[in-house]
Symmetry: C2
DNA sequence: TTGAAAGCGCTAACAG
DNA sequence: CTGTTAGCGCTTTCAA
C-alpha cells in the first residue's frame, strides 16, 4: 500500500453546532468556538462576554470565565479587526530609533496611545524619503486608524498616499515640524505638531551674536536628508548676515558623531582671518566632540571659541564647560500627537496642529562676551 | 422636511458578480474585487498577480497593472493573514527602546527580518515582568510566527504563554542571556542568544585584580528588575573574594545616570580604610558620571581610583582618561536572533542557541598597576 | 439574554 | 491560465 493519497476527509457531517466541524485547514487552534462549546454556549456569546461582560447573564458569564481560563484562548486580532472594520492601530514613521531623540518621541506616542487602548506600529526610515514611502505602503496594509510621519517633506508617492488617507478620514500628523505653509507650494496640508526650525536657527544665531561674535559657523550633521537641520542652518546664516556678521557653513564628516565633532574643531580653528569665534551645531553629539577636542588641545571655550549644541542631551550639562544647547519637547511631541489624533478620532474632525515650546539653555560653553 | 432618517439603501440588486454587490457595511474601500472588475478579471487573479506575477498571462497582467495603478489599492493584511493562516510577524519584547543598547538590538532584528519579508512587532516592558506578561498577551493576539523576549526571567503567566507557544511550534528566543539551565529550576527551556553575565562579571573583577587592586566595588544600576546587572555584580564579588580581596556592593541612585555616577563617586572615595581603589559599574553612563566627577574634583583616575564600565557606549573612548568598558554584541544579538528564528521557521525545528562574544576593552581609566 | 445568518477581504483547493 | 467554492475567526444585524 504505497502512497495512498491521504485519508479521505470526513467532511460529510454537516450537522449540529458541535465542536466537530472539521475546518479546511484547521490546525487545532483554540478559537472562540472552542471556548464556547466548552461553556455550552455559542461563539457570539463568548465574544459578547469578552467585550461587554455585563451583557451576558451572570451564570453564563461564570461558565465562560471557567472555559476561558482552561482553554488558553488568545483572541485573533486579524479576525476581529477584519470583522469589525475598525482599527486600533496607529502607524508611525520616524527617521530612526537608536537616536534617543526619536526614541523618546516614540515613547511619548506609545504612552498616550496605550492609555486609550491603541497600539503603535513603528517603522524607521533612516532619513530616506524613499524608504519612508516603502514603509508607509507596508504600514497602510494594516489599515491603521491614524498616521504619524516625521517632518513635512515626503516623496511624491508618499504624499499621495497620505493625502488619500486624509481624504478617507484617517488623521495624518506630521511631527517635529511646525511651519506656515509655503505659499503655493503644496496645496494640501496636514496637521503639524512640533516647532519652527527657522526660529530655532535664528535664536541660536541671536544668542551668539548677542555675545559679540562677528564670524560664526553652523556645523551641519552631514545627513543629507535631515532637512530640518539644514533649515536651522539657513536661518542661522540669514540671521547672522542680517546682523552684519559673517556666516560660515560647515558639514560634519560621517561616522561616529563625537569623532566628527573632533575633526570639525580643526576646521573651525583653522578658518580665517578673521577667526571664527563661535559655532552652532546640528546636534549635541557633534558639539560635544568639538568641546572634548577643544579641552584636549587646550583651546579655551568659550574664550577662543563658543560652542552651541542642539537637542540638550543628558551629556550636555555634564561636560566642562557645560554645553549650551536647545532643549526640545522630545517626549511632548509624541504625547501631543497622540492626544491630537485621539481627539480627532473621537470627534470625527481633523486633528489639531500645535507649536510646542523649546528653550535655548545657556551654559558655560557660550558664556560671557 | 426635517430629519428624514437617511435615504433607503438600494440593497435589492443581488445579481451578477459585477462591482455592484452592496456589502453589509461597505464603506467604499478599494478591495481586490474593485481592481479585478476594473481589469475584467476576478479577485483571485489579481491576488495571484500580486503574489506571483508569472502565474498570470502577460496581457492580463498588463490590464491588472493598469487597474492597480489607477485604483490606489492597498492590500488588507488582516484579511490576507487570516485567510492564509500564515503570519509574517515576529513579536519582540525589550526592556526599553530609549536605551541605545536595546535600540541597536531592535535594529539588528529588524535588519535580519526585513530581508526575509518579515515584520517586527516591538513592545517595551520597562524591565517589569508584569508588563512583560501583559505585552506578551497583547502581542500574541497577532499570532506572530516567532517570539523574542529579553532574558530568562519571566512572570509565571508569561512563562506559560511562552511554553504554550513553543509547544505549538512557534520559535521562542530569549536574548541578551546565555546561561546553562539552573539544575532543577525550570523544566522547560528556550533558545538563548546572548552571553553569560557571570563570565562578564568575573572578567571585570579579573581585569581589576590583575592590576593589583585589593578592595573593589561593584556599582549596580539601581534598576531592581535588571537581574542581569545583579548577576554580573554577584559574579564580580565572588571572583574578588575568591582572589582573597574585598568586595563592596553599591547601588546608584535613580534619576539621571550621569548624576547618579557623580554621587556614587563620593561614596566610593569615602569608603574605608582600606580605601576602595577600583570600581566596576553596571553601565557606562554611571561610570562616565563617576569619571567626570573625578576629573572635576581632581581625583586621579586610575591612580587613586580605577573605573570600569559596561556596554562600551560611544562616549567611553572620548573621555579622558578613556573609560575601560565591556564591548557587547548589541546589534549582533538581534541579527543572530533573526537568523536563528528564520532558520527554525524554514526547517521546522527548534531555533539554535548561541553564545555571542564580548570584549573587555582596556583603556586609560584602568591602566597600569 | 441568546442565537442564526451573513459577511469583513483575502487565499487554498480544486476544477476547467 | 483563470474561475468557483469554501472558509480563515470574528463581529454585525436582526430575530427569537
Amino acid at each position: 500500500m504505497p502512497s495512498s493519497p491521504a485519508p479521505a476527509p470526513d467532511r460529510k457531517r454537516l450537522r449540529s453546532p458541535a465542536p466537530a466541524r472539521q475546518a479546511r485547514r484547521g490546525h487545532g487552534r483554540v478559537t472562540l468556538e472552542t471556548v464556547a462549546s466548552a461553556a455550552g454556549v455559542t461563539a457570539i456569546t463568548v465574544s459578547r462576554f469578552l467585550r461587554e461582560p455585563s451583557r451576558v447573564a451572570p451564570e453564563t458569564a461564570e461558565r465562560i470565565r471557567t472555559a476561558l481560563a482552561q482553554s488558553g484562548y488568545v483572541p485573533n486580532k486579524q479576525a476581529g479587526l477584519l470583522a469589525s472594520g475598525r482599527s486600533n492601530m496607529v502607524a508611525a514613521l520616524l527617521p530612526n530609533l537608536a537616536n534617543s531623540i526619536f526614541a523618546e518621541t516614540a515613547q511619548g506616542l506609545s504612552d498616550g496611545l496605550q492609555a486609550a487602548g491603541f497600539e503603535l506600529l513603528i517603522a524607521s526610515t533612516g532619513y530616506s524619503l524613499e524608504r519612508e514611502e516603502q514603509q508607509l505602503r507596508a504600514l497602510l496594509g494594516w489599515h491603521p486608524a491614524a498616521l504619524v510621519v516625521t517632518g513635512r517633506r515626503h516623496a511624491p508617492g508618499a504624499l499621495k498616499l497620505l493625502a488619500d488617507a486624509k481624504a478617507a478620514g484617517t488623521p495624518v500628523i506630521e511631527i517635529w515640524d511646525h511651519h506656515p505653509p509655503a505659499p503655493g507650494l503644496r496645496p494640501i496640508t496636514f496637521t503639524q505638531i512640533g516647532f519652527n526650525h527657522d526660529e530655532v536657527g535664528a535664536a541660536m544665531a541671536g544668542h551668539l551674536l548677542r555675545a559679540g561674535h562677528r564670524r560664526l559657523a553652523y556645523v551641519d550633521s552631514g545627513v543629507a536628508e535631515d532637512y530640518r537641520a539644514h533649515e536651522r542652518g539657513m536661518a542661522f546664516a540669514a540671521a547672522v548676515r542680517a546682523a552684519g556678521a559673517q556666516a560660515v557653513a560647515l558639514s560634519a564628516p560621517g561616522g561616529d558623531a563625537f569623532d566628527a565633532g573632533r575633526q570639525v574643531l580643526a576646521e573651525l580653528l583653522g578658518a580665517g582671518p578673521p577667526a571664527i569665534t563661535a559655532a552652532a551645531f546640528a546636534n549635541d553629539h557633534i558639539a560635544s566632540g568639538a568641546l572634548l577636542e577643544a579641552a584636549r588641545r587646550g583651546v579655551a571655550v568659550p574664550g577662543r571659541l563658543a560652542l552651541l549644541g542642539f537637542g540638550d542631551f543628558a551629556l550636555a550639562r555634564q561636560l566642562s564647560p557645560a554645553l549650551s544647547s536647545v532643549q526640545l519637547p522630545r517626549h511632548a511631541i509624541g504625547a501631543a500627537a497622540a492626544a491630537s489624533l485621539l481627539a480627532a478620532l473621537r470627534l470625527g474632525r481633523p486633528a489639531a496642529s500645535a507649536a510646542l515650546p523649546w528653550t535655548l539653555v545657556a551654559r558655560g560653553s557660550t558664556a560671557g562676551a
